[in-house]
Every structure is written in C-alpha cells, then in structure tokens.
Amino acid sequence: MGALTLRLTSLTSIFAASSSVRPSLLRRRSRPLSLPIRRPLVSNLSAQSTAAEKDAAPEIAGNQKARVSEQAITPRSQDFNAWYLDVIASAELADYGPVRGTMFIPYSFIEKEASHVEGFSPELALVTVGGGKELEEKLVVRPTSETIVNHMFTQWIHSYRDLPLMINQWANVTRWEMRTKPFVRTLEFLWQEGHTAHATSEEAEEEALQMIDIYTKFAYEQAAIPVITGRKSRVETFAGASKTYTIEAMMGDRKALQAGTSHNLGQNFSRAFATQFTDENGQRQHVWQTSWAVSTRFIGGIIMTHGDDAGLMLPPKMAPVQVVIVPIWKKADEKAGVLNAASSVKDVLHVAGIKVKIDDSDQRTPGWKFNFWEMKGVPLRIEIGPRDVSSGSVVISRRDVPGKQGKVFGISMDASVLVAYVKDKLDEIQLSLLAKATAFRDSNIVDVTSYDELKEAISQGKWARGPWSASDEEELKVKEETGATIRCFPFEQPKGEKTCLMTGNPAAEVALFAKSY
C-alpha cells in the first residue's frame, strides 16, 4: 500500500500552472517557481509505522463506499498520524492504490557514481522482464536522474561556450520504500528536477543557492510555510553531492519535513561520467554541477502545517477553490431568488479573477455543505439566504477562524464592495496562516547548550538549536539515542562565540536538531 492516486485537481494544477508557462529550458536569471525532494545518504525513516496506513486502505472491490463527511476525523491532537490519513481520505486528496507505491536507467549508469548507488540501492525498482522476455540488462526505474543527465551532458557539452547548460524536467520517480505515507513518502512521486552544469565552482554554488532561495520564497509566499533554510550536515548530504541545501518545515506534530533541496554536486558526477569541456585556454576540465527538486511531498507539508480537526486548510494562493458559495433556502418560493443572487455573486467574483464555486445541490443541508467545504479547506465561505437577498448583502465565514468569530454579516453584494472585501480577506488569511505557523514553529524551537538540554527538548517533541562542531559519529549517536537528526545548519546564525553542545570545543555554527519524516 503506497502508490497514491493524486486527486487534487487543486494541487496538480499548482504544478501544471508553472510547467505550462515555463520553458523546460531554463535560462540564466529566470526565476521559476517550483516545488520538493531528495533523500539523504542516511535515510531517516520515521518511527511511526504502517498500521494506521493499512487500516486506511480502501476495499476497492467491496461495496463499502464510505463517504466523505460521514467519516469522523481523528482529532489532530489525539493522533497526528491518524489525523493526517483521515484528512487525506476525507478531503478526497488521494486514495491508496492496490499496489505498493525514461524513466528507465541501465543499471550500469547507476553504478558509476559509487556513493550515489550506495545511497539509492535498496530503494531501486528493477525491471527485468519486458514484452514477455527476460531483459539482457536489468533496468532501474529512475529514482532521480543525475546519471541520465550526466550521460546526456557528456554528449552535449564540448566547450565553455556550451556552459552553463541548465535543464529541468517534470517527471515521475520511483523509490521502493518499505514505509509509506501519502505525499510524504510514496513509491512513486511527481517532481520537478533541475540539473545544471557550469564552468566554475563559484557559478555552481551560486546556482544551488539561488534555487534554494526560490524554494524558500515559494514556501513562505505561496504555501504560507515558514521553512528554515540551511545546509545539510555531511551525514545528511545527498548521495553524491558536495553540499546539500534544504528547506525544513515544522509539521503540526512538530516533526520536521524536508520540503525541498538544492545540491551543489561539485565534480562528483562529472568525474564519474567524464563530463568535460574545453575552457577558454584550451584546457579540458570537468564541469561543476547542481541539481534541485521539489516534489508532491510539499503537498503533504501544506496539509500537515495548516490542517486542523475540521480537515484541510489551504492557503488562498494555492487553493483550487478560494470561495465557496452556499445558498440557503427553506421554502420552495425562496429558492429562485436565493439561487439568482448566488449566481450573480459568483459571476462578480469570477470576473474579478477569484476562484469561486457554488454548491447549489438540493440534496444536502447547508450544515452538511459547511462541513464538507471546511473539510476540503476552502478559505472563504459565502452564505446567501432569503433575508440576505432582500437586504442585498451576504454572510462571509473564514475557514481559519472557527465559529462566530470568523463570521461577518451584512457584507454588501455590490460588486465593488464585495470584490474588495473578498480579496482583502484572502490576503489576510494568507498572512494569518503564515503568522500562525511561524508562531507555532518559534514556540517549539529550544536553544540548547548541552547534550542534556538537547535530549530534554527532543523528548518534549520540540526542535533543538545549538552550537555543533562534533564528528559524524557523534551526530549518529544523537540520532540513535534521541531519534533526532541535524535538519540543517540554518543560514541565519546567532552572533557571538559558540561552544559545541556535545564536545565543548569552539563551534562556528548552530545546528537544528529534530525528529523528521
């Protein structure tokens, strides 16, 4: 049970929007928005396990067509993992497939970069039979494309004039994981992967930083997720990279999610694949490379950052439906008037560029509809009843502020008033989600100065931030003893002298420790 079906017309559209507009050939200085992921060399599987997932798997053949709003969602505070799976099932985001969840790479390619194959080997899906015949060479279903890309780059790059060479692809990739979780860790996922080759180490570094910068911006501005950007430790660096930059997000259960990565690959792959160019002085040199990716994992990040006990909560900028209109009538003679008003309100908002949907089915009660659209995470709800029609106004409720507090009566239906109000509220919700997530994040990061303090913070489920200059072995020891790993050395560092929390030696940087997905 791990293959996921993305139903998200919403979130697939987020990906598609940028893919259709962008040329696959990135030019220098172009700043595309993209979405997440790379597994580190040492895989850090979460301790939470698969029992809940198995329970959530639907019986396809049977007639148990359990319906959305009739299912109760496990409260988030009670069991975060179960809550996540419930929300996904209920909000019609994904269904488990009946299997465990080119694309083809000759096995010999994968083997070329030694640490790369070591990092990925257990997760490789191998095709050995095609068209009824045993294949001569087993084929790997791509877990990432560095090896294919280098194969291509080696043929396309001749001289310094061919550099920088920068490509991007939107693709599906496969990693045969034992423990899966919708969006976060699936056998197959969608992503964009960018690959670039440069003439100098400096240019490659600049590119890697530029991309992690764009991912950071995307997280804050679009997804309202206050990620912490930084550099991975040696232990957590991508298999085959010199440096890995990452954006780390704190989920509602305070576990960390690596939401996007950008790698400076140095010359590791270009040496393994002999990807060389002739420089301006006629000398042969190996190219300097980067790769960077964001995947559908990011969607899991949005759900686990903003969702609550009523279901999903989508940031307005990413919501496929930003406003849902629920017309309310009791008597038959009220219906036409209410529907008319609802429909003209819809038109007004639609023309103003707001993504709006009207739920006018007469099969469900307004209360049912409220719950349903809250579950789906729609940021704003407009209610229109007979009294509103006569007063020419509507009632507007915010998804992120529950109950009466989030409800405002008597907003004029007048186009100029309504559009301005709705746009304003959407902006406010967007900012408010970010502010709330930021406050949550900050209240759950503890500054530590000793290993004991670190252990204490982690045991409370928090993140620990402290000076670190200890060895890889000591980092692994922390992992073994606490379950936490170094998420990153944040770009933003406190000033002043620091001593390593583990060894007491001088430390140049603080590291961020947390349990992670």
């Binding site: 396809i60 599906n172 197959e188």
Partner: protein, 511 residues
C-alpha cells in the same frame, strides 16, 4: 542557447577548442535526402535538429528542450480547452498489480505482450511482480467504481498527463514508436450514452485543432473499423494523418466511446434519478508525443526540420552579418535591440551572437533546427534601417523596414503557418486515390497511395484484405471511415468483396 551544438558526431574538440569548432562547419547538414531514403532522413533530422538524443536502451529516447517546448505548447492549448469542458487533472500510479491489469479480458489481450515488469527492489525479489502501465483504464476504473454512487456524481471527467510504457520489439522510431512515451489520457463517465457520444466528438475536434491549427498537419476525422477499434471499447474515432514520403497513414489521436463494457467489468454503477441502478457510459481519449513525429515527417525537408511558428520553441533567429571594416558593435547592438522589440511583442526570438561561427554556419544550423524566420542584419541593413528576413519554408527573402518590424513579422509568421498547412494539404490530397475495384486498389497501394474505397464494412473482409496484401512493406488496413462521406450511389459494390458497399473508407499501409 543551452545545448546549442549542431554537431552530434562523436568527435570532440580535444585541443584548441576554437579552431576545431570552426572546422565542424563542414559536417553540418543531412547526409540523406528526404525523397531518397525517408527512414534514414528521419532518424538524422530528429537528432541533428536536436529534438532527440538516442539512449542506451533501445526504443527509449531523450526528449531534448527543442522537443519539450513544442510539447508544452500543445499541452497548454489542450489543457486549457479541456478545463473549459470542466475536465479535471489528476495523477494515478505508474505501477499496476497483475490482478487489476487482467481484469478486462479483451483489453488486456491487446496489451499483455507489451507490458514491462518490475520484479526486484534493490537486491530482493518482489513477491508479486508489478506491471508498468501501458494505459490506465484498469488502474483508474476501480476508483471510478468507488467514487461514483449516484447520478449526482456524474459526469466524472478526469485527465492525466503522464508517461506510459509499451515494450514493443518491432522497429522503434523516435516519437512514432517508442517504448516509453508521454501523453494525456482522458477518462470520463456519464449517465447517458448521448452525453458520452457528444464528448467523443468534442475531444476529437480538439485533436483536429492540435494537428491542423498548431502542427499545420491536415487530418481526416473518422471512425475506426471493428477490427481496428480500441480493444474492449464500443467504437473508436480518430484523426488520421498521412505521410506522403512513406505512403503510410498514421493514427494521430483517438477518442473512444467505451460503452458499458468497462462499467460492467469494474462494477461502475450508479443510482439514476428514478432510484434505479444503472451502469455508466464511458469514454477514453489520448494523444501522445507521436504528434511531434508526424509534424517532423510532414514538414521537414533536405535542410532539416521545418517548424510551424505556432509551436516552434524559437520563432525568429536574428543573426549579425558583420563585414570587414564594418561597425560590428553597432550591428550587434541592433541585433539585440531587434530581439528585445520582438520579445516585447510576444514573439519567441533570440540572437545568435556567437563569434566563433560564421553567418553561413549559423544559417545552416538554424535551418536544421527549423526556425521559421531568420532576420539577418549587416552594415547595409543598418544604413537603410532595415533587416533582411528569410523564411524557412520557402527561403523567400524580404527586406523589412525596422519601423514596421513587429507587424510585418507577425504577418510573415501567420503566413508561414498557413502555407505549411496548405502545402501539406496539397501533398496529402495528391496522394488520395479512389479505388472501386480490387485491381484499382492493388495498383494504388503499390503506388503508396491513401486509398478511398467503398466497403461492405465486414470484419472478415478486412481480415481478408490484410491477408491478401501481406508483404515486406506490411499489410494494408482500414484507416478510418471519414465522417465527411462522399455520396455513395445505391448500387456501389465493395472494392474487396463485391458485396453491396455500406460506406467510404480510407485504406492504406500505416505506422
């Protein structure tokens, strides 16, 4: 231009890069003419035009940026159109369990021999091998069964953009027949056959527009024969293109009405508005990267690719033509200014300012890549405040005043788009032969024609035609019965069986 290198030969500039690169000029161009050896020409043009890179696995091709930008233009058009029809995008898994794959019998008989299987993860064998989707009917429909319960859940209209794998052993050809390819596949379910029928045609019209309006390739809309329809479906409609050089028809895209066969297999039932249980009516429809191969084959010439302006990654290439003693800087500046004017006006334009290639080399290079319009700027042009425009499709040269540049360029690109379609249509039409008897049919087939023949519409007769035309070139088959039917006089007989004819049908060899 990233990756902008015309030379695909294995020899690399090992020393003194600059000198060597200039020498490569001699290797530009195609070694085969389109009319002499079409197959060779095609393989060469897709590689030299930088659309395809051959890969270590036979039948798998790397689609280079020059290809992907064409695909993205078609994708942007089609995606927007189906969204207007309220069709939503989704993504189903690549992997299929054997049980699900075998659910629909007729269907799987068609695909089983071509399936690729994952049998190992890392070093361990999987308990049950997992198939890689050859198409997604059997992957998706169990969930349609789950999601559809009442008539209010209908219509259910989903589409996905994805890759599929068909492990064929017959001669692989870039774009046309590859083991992995990209496509969109739409899968819809309706309460009534009427709605399904209407959508089949609505989608088919979009496919026609992709071919005719974007790729400038004329197609024929029609219905497939029983023998050629989609396995397990009710009927199949298609747009059919024709490649004059090879004398083969090619199925451009298909829009199927599946009827209720799949609904029955997968128990996709709903309660209708009277409270009674009913089965849904389904459609599926797809077009793939094959479209790009058709475009290359139809428009390409002995100098390389010819891209229709609407889909070309680059519509205009601006090249400086410096002379000795000329003010080179002024020329380069004008090139750059021209590009920014054109880009600002919404065109896809670039300047090739590389100083290690001669203007002549650049002309050949961009002709090879099929850029529709070239603007040359030399000292005289500078003087006269003009640029020299050269069309890729007919090499016509025109001097354009810088003043009216944008309008003139737009006019020319529109004209190139239209001329490509017109000339492709003329060539295609010239290949159509009406054959009323077996003798006429056999003769036309020998001449590699697209044959329009009166047919009795019997499956056995089509099988017989296939058997009788078997040979090195492959057998003839029905391509489609065009919706646009010429008049069929009452006593017309079938060209193959001599029985009364029921309709006009296109026949020929095909890809």
């Amino acid at each position: 231009m990233a990756g902008g290198k015309a030379d695909n030969s294995k020899s690399k500039a090992n020393t003194k890069g600059k000198e060597k690169e200039v020498k490569k000029e001699t290797k530009l161009g195609l070694s085969v003419k389109k009319d002499d050896n079409f197959g060779e020409w095609y393989s060469e043009v897709v590689v030299n035009g930088e659309m395809i890179e051959y890969y270590d696995i036979s039948g798998c091709y790397i689609l280079r940026p020059w290809t992907m930008s064409i695909w993205e233009v078609m994708q942007a058009f089609f995606d927007a159109e189906i969204k207007k029809m309220n069709i939503k995008n989704c993504y189903f898994p690549l992997f299929v369990s054997p049980g699900v794959l075998q659910r629909e019998k007729d269907h799987i008989e068609g695909f089983a021999p071509e399936v690729a299987w994952v049998t190992k993860s890392g070093n361990s064998d999987l308990d049950v091998p997992i198939a890689i989707r050859p198409t997604s009917e059997t992957v998706m429909y169990p969930y349609y069964s789950k999601w559809i319960r009442g008539h209010r859940d209908l219509p259910l209209k989903l589409n996905q953009w994805c890759n599929v794998v068909r492990w064929e052993f017959s001669n692989p050809t870039p774009f046309i027949r590859s083991r992995e390819f990209l496509w969109q596949e739409g899968h819809t379910a309706f309460a009534s056959k009427t709605e399904a029928d209407a959508e089949v045609l609505e989608i088919l019209e979009l496919y026609r527009r992709v071919y005719e309006e974007f790729l400038a390739v004329p197609v024929i809309k029609g219905q497939k024969s029983e023998l050629e329809k989609f396995a397990g479906g009710l009927y199949t409609t298609s747009v059919e293109a024709f490649i004059p050089n090879s004398g083969r028809g090619i199925q451009g895209a298909t829009s199927h009405c599946l009827g209720q066969n799949f609904a029955k297999m997968f128990e996709i039932n709903f309660e209708d508005d009277k409270g009674e249980k009913a089965m849904v009516w389904q459609n599926s429809w797809a077009y793939s990267t094959r479209t790009i191969g058709v475009m290359v084959m139809v428009h390409g010439d002995d100098k390389g690719l010819v891209l229709p302006p609407k889909v070309a990654a680059l519509q205009i290439i601006v090249t400086p033509v410096p002379y000795k003693d000329a003010n080179t800087q002024a020329i380069l500046d004008t090139c750059a200014a021209t590009v920014s004017t054109l880009n600002a006006a919404g065109f896809r334009a670039e300047a090739d300012l590389r100083d290690n290639y001669s203007p002549g080399w650049k002309y050949s290079h961009w002709e090879m890549k099929g850029v529709p319009l070239r603007l040359e700027i030399g000292p005289k042009d500078l003087e006269k405040k003009q640029v020299r425009a050269v069309r890729r499709d007919n090499f016509a040269k025109t001097d354009i005043a810088i003043d009216g540049l944008v309008e003139k360029v737009k006019e020319m690109l529109d004209d190139i788009q239209q001329s490509l379609f017109n000339s492709a249509k003329l060539k295609r039409d010239a290949c159509v032969v009406v054959a009323k008897t077996w003798g006429e049919f056999a003769e036309a087939l020998g001449q590699k024609k697209l044959i329009l023949a009166p047919w009795c519409n019997e499956e056995e007769v089509e099988k017989d035609v296939k058997a009788r035309t078997k040979g090195d070139m492959g057998a003839a088959k029905s391509l489609c019965s065009p919706f646009d039917q010429p008049e069929l006089p009452e006593d017309t007989l079938c060209f193959a069986s001599g029985k009364p004819a029921k309709k006009w049908t296109y026949w020929g060899r095909s890809y």
